[in-house]
Amino acid sequence: MDPLLSEFDSFVRSRTPALLRSAYLLTGDQHLAEDLVQSALARTHRSWNRLHHSGNAEAYTRKTMYHLQVSWWRRRRVPESMPGDLPEPRGGDSAPDHAHQTSLRLTLRAALAKLSPKQRAVLVLRFFEDRTEAEAADLLGVTIGTVKSQTAKSLARLRTVAPELAELYVLEGSTR
């Protein structure tokens, strides 16, 4: 097998799970998340010749993923709301605490769906991927000021659409 293909295979298989997790938060849907990651990886593949030894392949893929998500939304206005068929929660524990956790997760899921793609992206980058404002700005191709303002708007929007989460999170935004 072509050594570059082998390297790319390895990159895809090792990084897909992490990319899918971010993509799922961005899209709220398993199939859309797969499409998003697949499309970003395809573009990475096309640039693999220059990316493979740069060490920047994952950063490039994530950057591409965030740009694609925003541009897809602009073109197709997909999903403003999360799809109705929710995946079964993992486990099967029916204890009240688990039910409460599940309920909160579904609330968060629905709340995220009410954010704009950029707001969702900022939240995912800052609070899921734990990126600094500078890193988030670089990945989104915007200024740090935009990341700050979008973060504040995202949290404010979460407070509005899911007050029950706001109580839990005491959302005020943060700066690093």
Binding site: L4, V12, L20, L25, R105, R109
Partner: protein
């Protein structure tokens, strides 16, 4: 503040996704992207090459062509005259004369002058033919030949150095791809050759306007590169002995150099396909990627390239993605400064005297700069609004 709680809940939410193997789907998407981009990139061709080889993967680092024996002449079918397309030259409705020079340095000398610029569409409109247009600053744009496939004009056409003929590759109903030439007004259309690669290597005119560099298409995919003599009765082809994996050939006007996009960035060949050298400064890790060559200076010492504007990652294949043009020294790889006046350069073309036409963004439209060989602006002209949605395909003196 309880950011940590939000983090934990996002993590729990992300756990809902089921991981799947996206390897095969990714490679299929990559191949589709390559074909869609049709062509403006070497990657597209490489993917096809790999697809033909059954691997669906095409990036193979720096293959050097072997030393070359003498070229092998061969003979092709005789030309097949076909009915000419309908359009005839005319001042197109809505075209406006070029605005008088503005912001120019008023040092326009007789030795450095604007040539004629040829324009084609920037994107494909399904089912609609695309017109070639020409414009010389100070005059009105002229509507020229309509090609039945916009893609042919966008990706697979080139204008002869004297501005009289156009060569392009067009598909037929049987799935074949044929090389045609015609006058730029669409008349005197002739089929020059069948089974020509329509992707990546568009037909490229020699400086004397007699020969065409093209790539054959075989059952196994892209084949040999050859130089077809359009004036010979039997349309003789002189085949390159080497078979470089490259795209977008450019032929310098002194005839000595052909530049192509390759794995190395840009590689320079002689007119028989012997590899001369790779251009430095275009390391695959660098800013410029393959598929970016636009124009070669008369002696091959400088090359005009373009690339997607920064901040457009992930949208490189979108024809609407803005691109920036720049000039680099082919010996050193260093960028040559252009007198842009703080504006963005979108396209750069060399003229036969080494001067350059630089298309710059001005608001929502464009202006073209005439820049002499030493990089000094000679004059500037606003481009007619009717050309705004088009891109420059060639500049001829």
């Amino acid at each position: 503040m309880n950011d940590q709680r939000l983090r934990l809940d996002l993590t729990a939410l992300a756990d809902e996704v089921t991981s799947v193997d996206l390897r095969d789907r990714t490679l299929r998407t990559s191949r589709r992207l390559g074909i869609q981009r049709a062509v403006a990139t070497s990657a597209a061709a490489l993917v096809l090459i790999a697809a033909a080889a059954g691997t669906a993967f095409a990036i193979r680092p720096n293959e050097s062509p072997p030393p070359l024996p003498a070229d092998t002449p061969s003979v092709t079918a005789t030309p097949t005259p076909t009915p000419t397309p309908t359009p005839t030259p005319s001042n197109s409705a809505g075209d406006t004369p070029g605005a008088p020079p503005s912001n120019g340095s008023s040092t326009n000398t007789p030795s450095v002058q604007f040539g004629k610029l040829f324009y084609g569409p920037t994107e494909m409109t399904k089912g609609e033919p695309a017109n070639l247009r020409s414009w010389r600053p100070g005059e009105s744009p002229v509507r020229l030949a309509a090609l039945p496939e916009p893609a042919a004009l966008i990706f697979r056409a080139s204008i002869s150095p004297d501005g009289r003929r156009i060569a392009w590759v067009q598909g037929d109903q049987e799935g074949g791809t044929n090389l045609y030439t015609a006058d730029v007004d669409g008349s005197d259309r002739q089929r020059m050759r069948t089974n020509v690669n329509s992707i990546c290597v568009k037909p490229t005119w020699s400086p004397d306007g007699r020969h065409l560099l093209f790539e054959e298409w075989t059952d196994d995919g892209p084949g040999r590169l050859g130089v077809l003599d359009t004036d010979s009765a039997k349309l003789t082809v002189r085949w390159w002995a080497s078979k470089p994996v490259g795209c977008h050939p450019l032929w310098s006007s002194d005839g000595a150099t052909i530049a192509m996009d390759t794995h190395a960035g840009v590689t320079l060949f002689d007119s028989s396909g012997n590899r001369k050298r790779d251009m430095p400064g275009l390391d695959p890790r660098g800013t410029w990627a393959n598929g970016d060559v636009m124009s070669l200076s008369p002696d091959g010492d400088r090359i005009a390239l373009d690339r997607p504007e920064s901040g457009t990652e992930g949208r490189e294949d979108d024809v609407q993605t803005p691109r920036v043009g720049a000039v680099r020294d082919t010996q050193t790889g260093k960028e040559v400064r252009l007198p842009l006046g703080g504006r963005k350069s979108r396209q750069v073309y060399f003229q036969s005297d080494g001067s350059m036409i630089v298309r710059v963004q001005v608001g929502s439209g464009y202006a073209v700069l005439l820049v002499d060989k030493d990089g000094k602006k000679v004059s500037e002209t606003a481009e007619p609004a009717s050309l705004k949605g088009m891109k420059i395909l060639a500049v001829v003196d």
